[in-house]
Symmetry: C2
């Protein structure tokens, strides 16, 4: 039986109190946002309260073999996506062309690409760098193969002896190529669960073990340090940026103006989730050879604080420097903004163009960015596509094995018409998720809601913005989740994210590795998964 039961409500209270204490002292908080403008006096705002991010009380069982398998898949996915971004004609035909009439974000990004490519931009002209960088995150859920059964109640086996997990597979939920978040929180939650384990709260003398048989027999709790993997996301993400920085720094031209070279985080204004960005910055400053790292806000702030040097260096003027002081030459632009269509007003577009025109390495570049559209996942399912971009049968088969059915919703193709049939029929729609090509959660339509949603749209031509994806049949396990809504025990399902670094230069892959992972867990009866939006929790896998 999982999770282990606590001995009493008081014990439960004590455990949540320990978690809240740990979160408070380790920056595992989200900020309450008070929008205030800087004032022309010293009395600027300093009100800045915060609240703990949602977390699971216990780690959640996850098959050890599949945890490691996901890590091994990442370099193959990295390679695949690097090659996709290098193939403009495939990208255009398979992803962009179908979206252009229906998806404004795809249109905006492609127009920026064309402006760069055709050097129609004012000033510096086209793309300033032929090196691309991705800090990707591939998300998976566990999947129970076989016929879909609405009442699926397979549990993840907790005991190492059990073979319950033998049939489980990893299926990809999505592949993210821009502003992949959660790395810092994920690392800290793992540290927290490991701390709680080390201090004995999960298993001191077996006290927190299962009392399933009702006869006072105490099983040992399965939660042990050796079953909780360590997590080095912060170091991994910082090292990734440092690697790109070194590649830039080893290049030929540097500005005479700048006194130093550094990394630039482009961030969203008034972000309530800065605690997921800052530890990476601090880690870059804390290296033995510190890498100067700065934050700048997407939009006006970028345009005011940067300019292009004579060799297209991106020159950045830190906020706390006075007039006349010398700029920093930016080696790597790390985008934690520019991922949502509303950020692309005229200023946002100029901001992106400025960055792309520079010789700084962009994480990601525009062509890396568009790979985050769900349409890409669907296009990869086409016959022969994986074979075209991957150089071995083993790689193709490993990647294809993570796919679930995914269909275009366009009105012109056989496939699209088939998918439209599935999606509008309540008898079949419940087995699917309708996903727009936009990045991020909160926009998906689930199962029985799909037919009504589609029929309520003003025109069927808009349907082409979506892809239809089979629902992953995830096994459940019990856990207790703690969020702002309270502490609640129920069946949960988890999503494993794997972070990958890839740096490439027109066909040549310079760096390719797995750099970290995150586990998010939500109640099984909740569709959405977004911890910062209040759905789901950060978690640690209990490897079984």
């Amino acid at each position: 039986m999982y999770p282990p039961t606590t001995s009493s409500p008081l014990g439960h209270h004590h455990l949540t109190a320990q978690i809240l204490n740990y979160q408070l002292t380790h920056g595992m908080h989200l900020r309450h946002i008070h929008l205030k403008q800087p004032q022309p006096s010293h009395n600027t705002t300093s009100s800045s309260s915060s609240y703990p991010i949602s977390t699971s009380i216990f780690p959640t069982p996850f098959p050890r073999a599949l945890f490691h398998h996901a890590h091994n898949l990442q370099p193959i996915y990295n390679e695949l996506y690097a090659r996709l971004s290098d193939n403009e004609s495939w990208l255009y035909n398979s992803v962009i062309a179908p979206l252009l009439p229906v998806d404004s974000f795809a249109r905006i990004l492609w127009e920026i690409h064309l402006r760069m490519k055709n050097k129609r931009g004012g000033g510096g002209g086209g793309y300033g760098s032929d090196i691309s960088m991705g800090l990707f995150r591939s998300d998976y859920m566990l999947h129970v193969p076989g016929e879909y059964n609405e009442e699926v109640e397979v549990e993840v086996g907790v005991s190492l002896e059990e073979n319950d997990n033998a049939g489980l597979r990893l299926k990809q939920v999505e592949f993210n190529t821009i502003a992949c978040a959660g790395g810092c929180h994920a690392k800290k939650v793992v540290d927290m669960h490991r701390y709680l384990t080390r201090t004995g709260v999960y298993n001191d003398d077996g006290s927190l073990s299962s009392a399933a048989n009702g006869e006072g027999y105490r099983e040992k709790s399965p939660i042990t340090l050796s079953s909780l993997p360590t997590n080095e996301n912060i170091k991994g993400l910082a090292d990734s940026l440092a690697t790109a920085h070194d590649i830039y720094y080893g290049g030929p031209v540097r500005s005479d103006l700048a006194t130093k070279t550094g990394v630039l985080f482009v961030v969203q204004p008034d972000n309530f989730n800065v605690a997921d960005e800052l530890p990476i910055e601090y880690a870059l400053w804390d290296r033995e050879n510190p890498i100067p790292t700065y934050r700048v806000e997407w939009g006006d702030d970028v345009l005011e604080r940067t300019c292009l040097g004579g060799n297209r260096e991106l020159l950045f003027y830190p906020h706390l420097q006075g007039e006349g002081s010398r700029p920093v030459e930016i080696s790597v632009v790390y985008l934690r903004a520019g991922l949502e269509v509303h950020e692309y007003d005229a200023v946002g577009i100029e901001c992106r163009v400025r960055l792309e025109q520079s010789r700084a390495i962009k994480c990601p570049s525009v062509l890396g960015h568009v790979l985050t559209f769900k349409k890409v996942q669907q296009a990869l399912m086409g016959p022969g596509v994986l074979e075209r971009f991957l150089d071995s049968k083993e790689k193709v088969s490993a990647i294809r094995d993570t796919f679930v059915g995914m269909f275009s919703m366009d009105g012109d193709s056989e496939e699209g018409r088939y998918a439209r049939g599935l999606a509008t029929d309540p008898e079949s729609a419940w087995r699917y998720i309708l996903k727009p090509s936009l990045e991020g959660g909160g926009h998906n339509i689930y199962g029985e809601d799909i037919p009504g949603f589609l029929l309520g749209m003003s025109s069927e031509s808009e349907w082409g913005r979506y892809v239809l994806m089979e629902r992953i049949r995830s096994p459940v396990v019990g856990n207790v989740l703690m969020s702002r809504m309270g502490v609640e025990e129920s069946d949960v399902v988890s999503e494993l994210g794997v972070f990958g670094l890839c740096i490439w230069k027109k066909g040549e892959i310079l760096r390719n590795k797995t750099v970290g992972w995150s586990l998010k867990t939500k109640f099984a009866d909740v569709d959405e998964m977004s911890v910062v939006k209040g759905f789901g929790c950060f978690d640690t896998p209990l490897l079984v």
Copy 2:
């Protein structure tokens, strides 16, 4: 001119934003308190938002020589207070006897002492350990010698070339012997100011330097890494507890019942300042040889979770253990509670008695605790007192040099009558502070308020609870302080606290060292100093 000016209001805004970010991600927060009881279901409270602790925007200049001098004083003070606690008759005659009729807290603590000493307690009888431990904090302010002048406007010199500071002295504000707080916050604020310095925000290309002469000439900012001392409070405090743990562990008797030995933090329920306690616990768990460390709340929680073993071992049953599991033998009881008189109801008294009866090392014991009364400082001024407890003229003179005038307010002595005259006369009262013997801030009466306060009391006999202390004439310097009230620039004064460890055994001093320090800064026109109560900020000395 100090502090360095920022180039613009926007720059100022950017600096405070960086500080808020750093605080959020490093646990430099106080908790909003929502009082809720544990519920008999899983829906216990998990709401726990927090807000940043007050901090200075810039480090505050402080004379380097006096900073180091305060460190050197600490072992002498440690030794002095250890010897005082060993001398019951002096303690009784000089401190307790005058307070007994007027101070209920002194009465309660002394009754506990007598009950221990006379073995009148039920169960285990008298004191369980002859080893005492102090984690002390001695607080100093800078003092301008000479005639008191209300309009004192001496500034701390910022430049190393200046000799302005040559005449300054350290004067002791108070000496704390129980639950000395601020160590963790102090360390983190120092790390923060050092981080801001490393990243160049105070002095990138001189941009934040003074523009005092109005001709665009840029002085270099005086804020450099080498002028900001590092702070290892968390390690120092944890190492101190580990030292006492090792001394206990090296002793003769250990329980057959217990499976391990550990340190117990006795804390106040619903403390909003847990972020100043927890890092010390984590550091004990994080040692190469981890020391199990637990929290228990003062009062019922102590009585329910502990008992005395056959050899007076303090046996602690962690909250998350079930019935029948084995206890932890406590080596060191670290009191972060029991410092306020309201905590000593019948349960609180039994709690303290239980702890004192045990063979665990108490930090502090009752006789160490009573040394925190201001009456001790005043009694130490008596002729020959320091000479009696310290073994060299150099030590006596170093300690006496930190004293300002301090008078008993009793009605029986010549000194008391003289002090009563000073305190009730508005012509003289403004030069003094009236301090009750209670620990902690918030109870002092300042200067011109003293005569009215005294005359408003129901009986002159109550005046004996107070001591009259000369105000320290602190030099001022400009700084910008950030609190919940906003960001404000003005003249400030600072208070340097030095943490000391002393472990002694009836006349024999086993350990004696300086373990850390804190700097708190407040506006010069504010009397009170208590950061957690909203007066003053944590700060870093800029050594000049």
